[in-house]
Symmetry: C2
Subunit: 491 residues, 2 copies
């Protein structure tokens, strides 16, 4: 991938003087359009060889454009808050919002490439990371992020010359460290592994752009022009999301409705037995929640279910066994303005607990493949790809030490109607049934299909769904508690 | 303050059985109203003696109410991100939004009380912290936060009994640590200092409520009832902000307009000299920004000024001397939905840099006493108290190692008109003049008075204003750079 960049590329002083003001003006205008349209963010990932002008080029872009709408991050060692969460968390929190430009130095490429070069990672480790990156970037692109990846390259000879030149000038001497020379010694290895990484992660939606870094004028004009063309094209397209997954064939009608229809909805618990079991399991959950082996993990509970399925009261039976200082509940309602300006999963990443914490999601990211699918709030392409995005997300959580529980609280259509009517009779306004509840109810069959698809496609070994027969609330609550206690007890 | 709580307070089993369901129901309803109204947040600060039932009571409130809208925080040792910012930062980030209930264990009282008990703080240190707390809480209350402070008390004898009882029960033995007994030994000292702290911070808007913790039924019902009454009262009042500062006398007309009118607006720099000085100061700023002594601090630049005063281009002359990885620019536009659900200063606290960082605010918290004052976006009481709130805020920043620069870019009314007209002639849409610009211009005298008041009331030794004669852009830019270089050079 570096063959062309190995060659000498130069831009003469006169040409630069002629071209730079035009480019600058055009970039400023394109950035203004980006900010006015406010429909997609731009993320520029910067990688490359030491001394190839990464920092200088980013500084130049900041000088050419309006720096007030560019945010640049260099990712050093993670803070302790970052280290207690999946590695991608720090990149999620730094993502630019729609209308803004973000620049990430190193980003998610640093850890795999550097560790492979130093021999800390095997080929397999590297490959696993590159696969993760591939899927992460695909998700960003599908979510509408304009993703540009610039790799600044120097041949070995050019790098030696460049480091020496920097050292010779008293003004720039400080920039060359022992570390730089140490890394220069492994140039060939670095080149080989980077080339592999770039090849594996160059996709139609997010190709790597290798820029020869030896000549400052050349690399500046090149990076600026590529950014300009990409910006102009995307603004002109009116900022639609990527079309890459639209050609997906319609989902085959699986005969998976049995998942729900074959449940034994007659299961009940009589009152005395319920009280006894409730006390037993709440006590066990309390002891477990304080145990060292559980506190090494984070615990994530996801609650989904039919309206009036009893989610709220079930959650209370769990939290009343816990200490309030230990858990957070995240009720998922309509996304806020800041959340709407970000990729879909951003608003859930915000709430990822650190190790030792318990987070309960009352509704969750599964809204994408339930209400958003059924009500048409997103396109088919969007919810179709959501299954694998969600699996990726949960895999990251679990790999980082999360114990995942996902509960679907199931009632029959008749039972829901009974509960709706009962609620209408109560005087407590907080139990009033809304228009939305009735609307959802009308689409029962569509929701049923969506639920079955969801369970089929996202129930995994590491993050399984538990379908809870919730026709009888006592039965449901005990099943929930038992599931928690059994799983946590096995840690 | 503890005399009444020293006495025995009990609630019988029967009374509790009768009262608890009623209280529970009423609390749930009040919480529902709070969430529906969504006009103010509730913050419950919890303090008191070990073993007095702090945790149990909070768990009980979570059980009685809907835990999905209560967030509980116990503040342990600060994370490294928190430690790199002013101490209040961690409390700001945990603040509940309007419609929610937040519970803070220990909170801002822990550090001063514990350190005074252990002898790490002098009486003076303690007093300084209590003064800060007093002002912080006053600000929260003025901003509409319903602030309740519960202190759970035990007499020395009760505490001994309680710790022994917990130890005797195998189920609760784990809860009593050596640390608890160590703290029990200094009961008298803890009591004396806490009493002092409570007295100093009990205000009309945020009084301490001391609750005898010896009897679980008594403390639960008491805390629940107080919360209920406070909630009901506030909801009934329609969630107005506190009126405490409305009776302020109208501001005396100071003859401070001279601040702006006596400036020498004829100062200019001719082109050659400007280019030379620009290079000189940008070079110096670049070296300083990388120096160890500057990187021990955070640097905060605030830019305010007339429309078309040249803020944007001045900021670019500064950032082009810096590395993009080192600074963040925060352009202040209308607050987002999440920001509107919080006290005024919350959206600036979000962006407080850690040590080593440089943050540039393009417009700032001074909007409160400029545009919001002049356009009537907030009440007179709101902007009147903003001066001291802002001074408190900046004092916290400086105490934590921030170097503050505040620039007012000043042009004459005639010069503004000239620039507006010039902009109207350009073809760059990003320079178009908006309705708002013309609207602001019409209120020039009001803005002029507001600017002079602002400088008068918020220019302090630790955080001075620099008024920049910006009639001539080159002159203004050099003055800015020189101010930065001189101050940072003196560190």
């Amino acid at each position: 991938m570096f063959e062309s960049a190995d060659l000498e590329h130069k831009v003469g002083k006169d040409e630069y003087k002629r071209e730079e003001p035009k480019l600058r003006e055009a970039l400023l205008n394109a950035q203004f359009d980006l900010g006015t349209l406010k429909k997609f963010p731009v993320l520029i990932v910067i990688g490359g060889v030491d001394g190839a002008g990464k920092g200088e080029t980013v500084n130049l872009l900041n000088e050419w454009m309006d720096p007030r709408h560019i945010v640049t991050y260099a990712f050093g060692p993670p803070s302790d808050e970052e280290a207690a969460r999946p590695p991608m968390w720090r990149f999620w929190r730094a993502l630019p919002a729609q209308g803004k430009i973000g620049v990430f130095f190193g980003s998610w490429y640093t850890v795999p490439i550097v560790n492979r070069v130093l021999g800390h990672f095997s080929d397999n480790d590297l490959q696993k990371h590159l696969d993760d990156i591939f899927r992460h970037e695909k998700m960003l692109v599908d979510e509408g992020v304009l993703l540009l990846k610039f790799w600044f390259h120097l041949s070995k000879n050019q790098q030696r010359k460049r480091l020496k030149a920097l050292e010779a000038d008293p003004k720039t001497k400080w920039r060359v460290t022992k570390e730089d020379w140490r890394r220069f010694k492994v140039y060939d290895r670095f080149r080989e592994i980077s080339e592999h990484a770039l090849r594996e992660t160059s996709t139609a939606g997010a190709p790597w752009i290798v820029i020869s870094g030896a000549d400052a004028r050349f690399r500046g004009l090149t990076a600026g022009r590529i950014l300009l063309e990409a910006l102009k094209k995307r603004v002109a397209e009116g900022a639609q999301k990527s079309k890459s997954v639209e050609a997906v064939p319609p989902m085959p009608q699986l005969d998976n409705l049995k998942l729900l229809r074959s449940l034994d909805m007659t299961q009940r618990l009589e009152k005395n037995r319920y009280q006894k079991l409730l006390e037993k399991y709440q006590g066990e959950l309390n002891v477990l929640s304080r145990s060292k082996k559980v506190r090494k993990h984070s615990v994530i509970l996801v609650f989904e279910g039919w309206d009036a399925g009893g989610k709220g009261s079930a959650i209370r039976r769990i939290t009343s066994a816990l200490d309030a200082r230990q858990f957070h509940i995240v009720p998922i309602a309509a996304p806020t303005e800041e959340e709407r300006a970000q990729p879909y999963l951003w608003r859930f990443w915000r709430h990822v607990p650190n190790l030792g914490g318990i987070t309960i999601f009352d509704r969750s990211w599964y809204g994408r493949v339930l209400v958003e699918r059924v009500e048409g709030f997103c396109s088919q392409a969007d919810w179709m790809r959501a299954y694998s995005e969600i699996n990726d997300f949960e895999e990251q959580l679990v790999r980082n030490g999360a114990i995942m529980f996902k509960f679907w609280l199931h009632v029959t259509k008749e039972e829901q109607l009974r509960r709706f009517k009962e609620r209408q009779k109560t005087s407590f306004k907080r139990f009033k049934i809304t228009e939305e509840d009735w609307r959802n109810r009308k689409k029962w069959p569509e929701y049923e299909a969506a639920v079955c698809d969801m369970v089929d496609r996202t129930s995994t070994d590491i993050s399984p769904w538990t379908i809870v027969e919730a026709q009888d609330k006592p039965f449901a609550r005990i099943k929930l508690l038992k599931t928690l206690v059994n799983r946590l007890g096995r840690l």
